[in-house]
């Protein structure tokens, strides 16, 4: 394995962490450029990593290993706990890694120019960088205990972001978030250690395919994983922390939370749940599918009744994550690829939606749908962008949101059988409801009589933050292979 790529793997995690450490000692006026600089620097290893990909093909053999990362680094850290510092990247994790790097950069730049009310912007920037380090570490970990460790790293910084820079009711929302997610992560801890103790290793590469685990262990471990990741994702009915957290969080907090933090749940379900305990996944798949469809329908129905902009978008996440989980639950190549694509698409589109909702709330000083209206007259560009994002989110073909949702349904139909067909039909109905509530949102916000006048000017930093998301939404919608190019082999290996 080439050394450059190993250095890059470490750099991707270490650069944001170093940036956060540096911020705590630098004077406050350097905080913005430093944080943005480090977030940008962290993109360098992320851009370099895929070049390690080609070497993967050379080692293609008749019986390829279950997980063959493009780049890999494996150091023993705490032998007494089977803990290795084992990082690696492959087609499953790379799109999410790139998304994390991008969104953090956008959020840092946005915070630098538009610091939210609350504590010092320096601390917020530091927390964003720690979050990035934790999220990237989670996606890059190829060791179960290391995965858990990074999973935990993100917990308190996100709490602090919500509690320090949030809205009126921030402390209650932040507390709910942190207790809920800690509940999920202690279950993850038990699951991870159950696997590590029974298999004698915590190496995800060695464990993928459920090697060395008895059926009973896999069932128990998958049950723990499923609940743990269901809290994070969040899967109905464990979602109730999400709307409060999103409504109260500052704009950048919502973007990171919806854009990448939730993805740790779905990614974990694919990589750890399906990968390490496949028998358990097969055993629980029908239940997961039913819950996923319940999430889609519940999310859509709740959204139809929402009167607050950010809350509506937050609940729409429940529905979208439902599609992602439906894709995973089918345990087919199509389904899991749809889930991976849905993950990225939701990150881009919901990130954009939260940026826009934040911009509208900042200008109008209200997020109440009843008080908004006529945005296309007062701020036509903002209205246009909101329309674009909403239509992308409801799954218009040609935009990023379409592929994940459509193919989750297709995968469920392909899976066959009465149950999965019914689930597919219900999910499709849920998709239609999604269209209904987003159109309702547009009717209330952009059309109709002018409610609260909104200034039409869009600042340069706002274009800077939004343009990449708009462009990528379009690009992924037109060329989904951007995300899926390298996923088919690892996904097939995963469900084999």
């Amino acid at each position: 394995m080439n050394d450059v790529y190993q250095v890059m793997l470490v750099a991707a995690v270490a650069l944001p962490a170093a940036g956060a450490a540096l911020l705590s000692v630098l004077p406050i006026r350097f905080a913005g450029p430093t944080a943005t600089g480090f977030a940008a620097a962290a993109l360098i290893p992320i851009i370099v990593l895929p070049f390690g990909h080609d070497r993967g093909w050379a080692t293609y053999a008749a019986d390829p290993p279950t997980v063959s990362p493009w780049a890999e680094l494996d150091l023993s850290w705490v032998p007494a706990l089977h803990l290795h510092f084992h990082l690696g990247v492959d087609g499953v994790s790379y799109p999410l890694v790139a998304l994390t790097g991008l969104l953090t950069l956008l959020c840092c730049a946005y915070t630098m120019w538009r610091p939210p009310a609350g504590g010092s912007p320096r601390t917020l920037l530091g927390l964003l960088l720690i979050l990035e380090a934790g999220i990237l570490g989670t996606f890059l970990s190829l060791d179960l205990i290391l995965f858990f460790l990074f999973f935990e790293v993100t917990l308190l910084p996100m709490y602090a972001v919500i509690a320090g820079w949030g809205g009126e009711d921030r402390r209650r929302a932040a507390r709910k978030f942190v207790l809920y997610t800690l509940f999920g992560s202690v279950l993850l801890l038990i699951g991870v250690l159950t696997v590590a103790v029974h298999a004698g290793t915590a190496d995800i590469v060695a464990l993928t395919g459920g090697i060395g685990l008895s059926k009973g262990t896999q069932y128990a471990a998958f049950a723990l994983f499923a609940v743990a990741f269901a809290v994070k994702a969040p899967l109905w009915p464990l979602h109730s922390w999400l709307p409060d957290a999103h409504t109260q969080a500052p704009t950048v907090g919502s973007v990171i939370l919806a854009g990448v933090l939730l993805k740790m749940g779905t990614y974990g379900l694919i990589r750890v749940g399906v990968g390490v305990t496949p028998l358990g996944a097969r055993w629980a798949a029908p239940l997961l599918g039913i819950l996923a469809v319940a999430a889609i329908l519940a999310g859509a129905l709740i959204c139809l009744k929402q009167t607050e902009l950010k809350r509506l978008i937050a609940y729409s996440s429940v529905g979208h994550m439902g599609f992602v989980l439906l894709g995973i639950a089918t345990l087919t190549t199509t389904g899991i690829q749809a889930a991976l694509l849905g993950n990225v698409a939701h990150g881009l589109i919901t990130g954009l939606l939260f940026f826009l909702a934040g911009a509208i709330k900042d200008r109008a000083h209200t997020g109440d749908l009843a008080d908004l209206g006529g945005l296309r007259e007062t701020a036509p560009r903002l209205a246009g962008l909101l329309g674009f994002a909403a239509i992308a989110s409801l799954g218009l073909p040609g935009l990023a949101g379409f592929w994940g949702e459509a193919f989750a349904v297709v995968a469920a139909v392909e899976r066959g059988g009465v149950l999965w067909t019914i689930l597919a039909v219900l999910a499709a109905i849920g998709g239609a409801l999604t269209a209904a509530y987003f159109l309702r949102l547009l009717r209330k916000v952009t059309h109709g009589p002018v409610g609260t006048p909104v200034s039409p000017a869009i600042a340069g930093v706002e274009w800077f933050a939004w343009a990449p998301l708009v462009a990528l939404t379009l690009a992924v919608g037109l060329v989904p292979t951007l995300v899926l190019a390298a996923t088919s082999l690892p996904v097939e290996a995963l469900i084999r």
């Binding site: 705590s24 850290w77 705490v78 032998p79 007494a80 706990l81 504590g119 720690i130 934790g134 205990i145 858990f148 460790l149 935990e152 790293v153 917990l155 308190l156 709490y159 509690a163 320090g164 402390r171 507390r175 942190v178 207790l179 800690l182 509940f183 202690v186 279950l187 801890l189 038990i190 250690l193 159950t194 590590a196 103790v197």
Partner: protein
């Protein structure tokens, strides 16, 4: 009986420190000289424990030895010495203003350290209990040792805390001694490596003895339902002494329990104590409004996690020791921050008194976050996270999944109050009901920024660096313990 004097060096260093401190006070009666002599003696004790290291046992009568230098004993001797020196640093502001007589305070603390050093090395029950009592005895006085300046409001809280602690502790020692006696009567064993489960008609007697030993020692770690003394005692004691009680004194109890559980099968008793202790500790801590009481209940809960590992018997000893070391380190930092944020020789106060303290003292706030997040088992410091992982790992490894579940759920309950108390350090001043010019000025008047004494800062820096370093390299600790 031949005695290897070199092996006994840590004990000589510790007791020598106590004697030296006494003489310094007697001859020079200078606070600085006494404190410096104590600090040097403490460091020498830690150094001699490391240098002597693991050697063949001594004080042997035939095959049975009373002084057994194991890796655990060495590590814990170092911990005791370090904690004692740390507590000395924390008490320097109150010694400076004369809230406690320096000579007496230092001598008693050094005597207590001597007892702590003995516990780990003890090879028989008598040495163990004598060590434990030497650790505890000076604390009865230290808890109530408080002088009041003329005009200062005299409080009897310390004296009543002292009495509470004394009575409970004496009873617990009596119970432990009764246990040792019953066990001896049934099996004839007094040396730890001869402790066996009783057989035949005297079996029940031996079992009762073992259970009584565990119960007697459980008082020392404040395990529920034998915990009631801890919150009032911590609350009434001077802050540095409360720090000592919840770290070094607790460590002594854990070591005494280790000696029993690793040789006798008392798993049901210990497991029941563990479940009760962590659950009760966390639930009651949820409602505490006084800082030291909250820390007291939290340290009760933490003892529950240690007991959970000890329920595994010999297999859980290493996990329990690792958890205990991480815990006392983080607990020490938490108490250190409390000492630094309060005026010299004051009590812990209400949580309200700490409002916004993290904004006034960013570095103390950072140390507090490190300690409290660690106690909750979360990053940024990895020490607490690894502590949690170690205990859960040991429990699952031995097939005690249900107890691991209890530990995990308790971690969630615990986070609720850890978050509450920490968020309080960062809240912005509330807007008062009446019209004032500047709420920040008012806040500065009611919550002044106090200077931090150099010794306290130094102790905090060393402890925080140690916690961070050992969090990154926990294998060092695992290696030191095996």
């Amino acid at each position: 009986m031949t005695i290897d004097q070199v092996t006994l060096l840590p004990l000589y260093a510790a007791s020598g420190t106590a004697v030296l401190v006494l003489l310094m006070d007697l001859l020079f009666a200078r606070r600085t000289a006494t404190v410096v002599a104590f600090a040097a003696g403490g460091i020498a004790t830690a150094a001699s424990a490391i240098v002597v290291g693991v050697r063949p046992a001594t004080f042997c009568a035939g095959a049975e030895c009373s002084w057994v230098p194991t890796p655990l004993a060495v590590t814990m001797a170092v911990m005791f010495a370090a904690l004692t020196v740390g507590v000395l640093a924390l008490s320097s502001p109150s010694l400076k203003i004369g809230a406690a007589p320096a000579g007496e305070f230092c001598f008693l603390l050094a005597a207590s350290m001597t007892g702590g050093v003995v516990i780990g090395y003890a090879g028989d029950l008598i040495t163990l209990i004598v060590g434990l009592e030497t650790l505890t005895l000076p604390l009865y006085i230290l808890v109530g040792l408080r002088r009041f300046a003329p005009g200062e409001k005299v409080s009897t809280a310390g004296a009543s805390a002292s009495i509470t602690f004394f009575l409970i502790s004496v009873v617990s020692t009596a119970i432990a001694l009764l246990g040792a006696a019953l066990n001896y009567a049934a099996t004839g064993a007094i040396h730890l490596n001869h402790l066996v489960a009783g057989i035949g008609p005297l079996g029940p007697v031996a079992q009762t003895g073992a259970a009584l030993l565990v119960i007697g020692f459980a008082f020392k770690v404040a395990a529920v339902p034998l915990h009631a003394w801890a919150p009032p005692t911590y609350e009434g004691a001077p802050l540095p002494v409360a720090a000592y009680l919840s770290t070094a004194s607790k460590l002594g109890g854990v070591l005494a329990l280790v000696a029993i559980v690793s040789r006798l099968d008392v798993a049901p008793v210990v497991a029941a104590l563990a479940v009760l202790t962590m659950t009760t500790g966390n639930l009651v801590a949820l409602r505490q409004q006084r800082m030291v009481r909250l820390l007291a209940w939290s340290s009760i809960a933490q003892a529950g996690y240690i007991l959970a590992a000890l329920a595994l018997g010999a297999e859980g000893v290493r996990a329990a020791a690792v958890y205990a070391v991480f815990f006392v380190l983080l607990e020490f930092i938490a108490f250190g921050v409390v000492v630094a944020l309060r005026p010299p020789a004051s009590d812990g106060g209400d949580l309200l008194a700490y409002r916004g303290a993290g904004r006034r003292h960013p570095w103390l706030g950072a140390a507090w976050v490190l300690a409290i997040a660690g106690l909750a088992g979360l990053p940024p410091g990895l020490a607490g996270l690894f502590a949690k992982v170690t205990v859960v790992d040991a429990l699952i490894d031995q097939g005690w999944g249900w107890l691991a579940g209890f530990v995990a759920l308790n971690a969630v309950i615990g986070l609720a109050y850890y978050v509450r108390v920490t968020a309080n350090l960062y809240v912005t001043p509330p807007r008062p009901g009446i019209q004032v010019v500047d709420p920040n000025l008012l806040e500065a008047a009611t919550h002044p920024r106090l200077p931090v004494s150099r010794a306290v800062a130094a102790a905090l820096i060393v402890a925080a660096i140690t916690a961070v370093a050992i969090g990154f390299a926990p294998q060092l600790l695992f290696d030191a313990l095996s």
